[in-house]
């Protein structure tokens, strides 16, 4: 990997973080005094990915136009890293007619056919759908790949098993990504999963399984590169588990009492400052550049939020549209 790669990875991570930090702010801004999940300009559940940016940018760095991603309920980092338009995505989160889904989908149901990006709020159900996209890519004779993303909690859902067997059996160009952030809402990995590495489950399908520890974006980049190349060159699916960290609550409003003392360790586990340090030590980044990257990201985010807020809201009548094509 080149210095350019590294800076891209860094820039993307910062871009995603600045975006979600701003969404966090906007989300809470108008829900008080009596905090109400349904109130404000951004209502409903909000699952943010702070801390998990390395997974998204490390994987998506290897994708090209036409490659597909199915993401779970926590989709923003993969959406942005995969090139989903920030303004249209933000407008969707604000429920506006200019949104990706004209306000019908919301943050757990972002659909961007241009970038072959979709997500679903039902655990692990994006895994089989990605297999079908990969099947289509293969039948059409393209070299496109489909990436299926889910959390470690999702790896105990039946759909995970069926999808991996199907992809292996049919030699489909799929990369199955598990983001292990140690938690499924309040349930720790040790209370949900009988083994310590889901990479071991790849054995049950005869495909490669790799677990990347420490949430390091460069290691993720390397492992993902191998998996994507394998899929693209027709050698079939792989399973990639990335041990990452959920810096914030499961959803906004989650008090996280169940995390106890672990909460105090989160700041030092933030992968972005860590990576900035590493790049500085390598002499590839300095404070000016750090500030500039942040400023660029903030400018893009500002524009997206502005666009969303300025966009029209749908009407009640619009709700009756799009049941059938």
């Amino acid at each position: 990997m080149t210095e350019l790669n590294r800076l891209d990875l860094y820039n993307q991570m910062v871009r995603i973080r600045q975006y979600e930090a701003r969404i966090l702010q906007e989300y809470h801004a108008d829900k008080t005094p009596a905090w109400d999940i349904g109130a404000g300009l951004i209502p409903g559940e909000m699952h943010l990915s702070a801390g998990q940016e390395p997974a998204a940018v490390g994987v998506c760095a290897h994708l090209k136009n036409g490659d597909a991603i199915t993401a779970p309920h926590r989709p923003h980092h993969f959406a942005l890293a995969h090139g989903v338009d920030m303004q249209a995505m933000t407008a969707e989160i604000y429920g506006r007619t200019t949104g990706l889904c004209q306000g019908k989908g919301g943050h757990m149901h972002l659909f961007d056919p241009v970038n072959h990006f979709s997500c679903s709020g039902i655990i692990a159900q994006g895994y089989p759908v990605a297999c079908g996209q990969a099947l289509a890519f293969k039948r059409k004779g393209t070299d496109h790949v489909a990436v299926a993303v889910a959390g470690e909690g999702a790896a105990n859902q039946g759909a995970f098993h069926e999808a991996l067997n199907l992809a292996a059996l049919w030699n489909l160009p799929v990369v199955f990504v598990i983001e292990d952030n140690d938690w499924a809402i309040s349930v720790p990995r040790s209370h949900s999963t009988a083994i310590t590495s889901n990479a071991d489950r790849a054995v049950g399908y005869g495909i490669p399984g790799v677990r990347v520890e420490n949430n390091e974006v460069e290691a993720i980049f390397e492992a993902a590169g191998a998996a994507v190349d394998r899929a693209r060159s027709g050698d079939g699916p792989s399973l990639l588990e990335i041990h990452t960290v959920r810096l914030w609550g499961h959803f906004e409003g989650d008090a996280q009492a169940y995390r106890g003392a672990e909460l105090d360790t989160l700041d030092e586990r933030d992968p972005i400052p860590k990576y900035a340090e590493a790049l500085k030590e390598r002499g590839e980044l300095d404070d000016d550049r750090i500030a500039a990257v942040k400023a660029d990201a903030d400018a893009e985010v500002d524009a997206a939020i502005e666009f969303a807020k300025a966009s029209p809201e749908p009407t009640a009548e619009d709700a009756l549209e799009h049941l059938f094509a």
Binding site: K104, G105, P113, I122, G132, F137, E162
Partner: protein, 340 residues
């Protein structure tokens, strides 16, 4: 429906289904078939007869017993522009894949604000009457008609089976295609004369959302579908000798539902019996009552009647199962009551 000049021959419903799929596969390379035993076996109930021989394993794909996996894969393939015809062997197995069907296949187009299409056919066998018991004999069409985003068609005869299959495959929306095992014309099941009929050899469509007046009558309207259409027609013929004129409406589609045809018939006869092989409560029979009562309860010169499975699982033993299915005897008795 488009008519045709070519000579007709008599084929079974199963053959008609397979013929409809085959015609579309020749016409459109994006059409392919997936499911358990749809390949060399030809589908447990004959829905893919001879397709494997013509199109091979690349386009007629046997799957593992992973309904969530392969129905989900059908959705992904459809999203990317293919037109999968996916078989769920028995509708009774919906429970292992219902999330893909109702939270994904049914909702993606709407959730996406119309930007994503899911042109896919999900076909499944329904119905009882041959002692296959509680987990292999259900109809469940009411369950699917209740959940928005899926068109639901339920042909009752070979002609409609072929025409609705072609319409379903060409439709840009997910279509659930339910066929009754007892109406397939299979050599290893009870022979049902109305399961073999004249079907044009070339391609034609039967529009989704249009009911058919299977038989005209003036005294009583029977609203029904699927194999119960056969029974209702038999009863109508029999009751004619008793001087009762029965109109039989074959709904053919549940989503969209052809409300006008139902209301027109009830307005004419003033008496309605809904015959439904699905469970009685919270289903099709209630929906028909509602569209009548919403329109004008005074249309009904006699109380609304429904004959359906009385809210118990389908039992195994023949006397038990025959006791809860809408048999010809029960249909005839219900009509006579309505006229009394």
């Amino acid at each position: 429906m488009t008519t045709t000049e070519t000579p007709v021959r008599r084929i079974t419903t199963a053959k008609a289904m397979a013929e409809g799929i085959g015609l579309e596969m020749r016409r459109d390379p994006n059409v392919f078939v997936m499911g358990e035993d749809v390949g060399a076996y030809g589908g447990i109930f004959g829905s893919t007869t001879d397709l494997f021989a013509e199109f091979g394993a690349e386009r007629v794909i046997d799957t593992p017993i992973s309904e969530t996996g392969f129905i989900g894969a059908g959705i992904g393939a459809a999203v990317e522009g293919l037109r999968p015809v996916v078989e769920l062997m028995f509708i009774d197995f919906y429970g292992v894949c219902m999330d893909q069907i109702t939270n994904h296949m049914a909702k993606i187009h709407y959730e996406s604000g119309g930007s994503v299409k899911v042109p896919m056919v999900l076909m499944a066998a329904v119905g009882g009457g041959y002692s296959d018991a509680a987990q292999h004999s259900q109809c469940l069409w009411g369950t699917f008609a209740h959940l928005p985003g899926i068109k639901v068609v339920v042909p009752s005869n070979p002609y409609d089976a072929k025409g609705l299959m072609i319409s379903a495959i060409r439709d840009d929306n997910p279509v659930l295609y339910l066929f009754h095992k007892g109406g397939q014309g299979l050599v290893w099941m009870e022979k049902n004369p109305r399961s073999i009929a004249e079907v044009p050899e070339d391609s034609y469509t039967v529009p989704i959302g249009e009911a058919a007046v299977a038989r005209e009558g003036s005294d009583v309207t029977i609203v029904t579908l699927s194999l119960s259409v056969h029974h209702s027609l038999d009863v109508a013929e029999q009751l004619e000798d008793e001087g009762i004129s029965v109109e039989v409406i074959d709904l053919r589609s549940l989503v969209p539902l052809d409300v006008d045809t139902v209301l027109a018939s009830v307005a004419k006869t003033g008496r309605v019996l809904v015959v439904d092989e699905d469970y009685r409560s919270f289903g099709l029979t209630g929906e028909i009552a509602a569209i009548i009562a919403e329109q004008d309860p005074t249309m009904l010169q006699a109380p609304f009647r429904r004959l359906a499975v009385p809210d118990v699982p389908i039992p195994y033993a023949r006397p038990l199962e025959q006791g809860i299915l809408p048999t010809r005897e029960k249909i005839a008795a219900s009509v006579r009551d309505l006229m009394a």
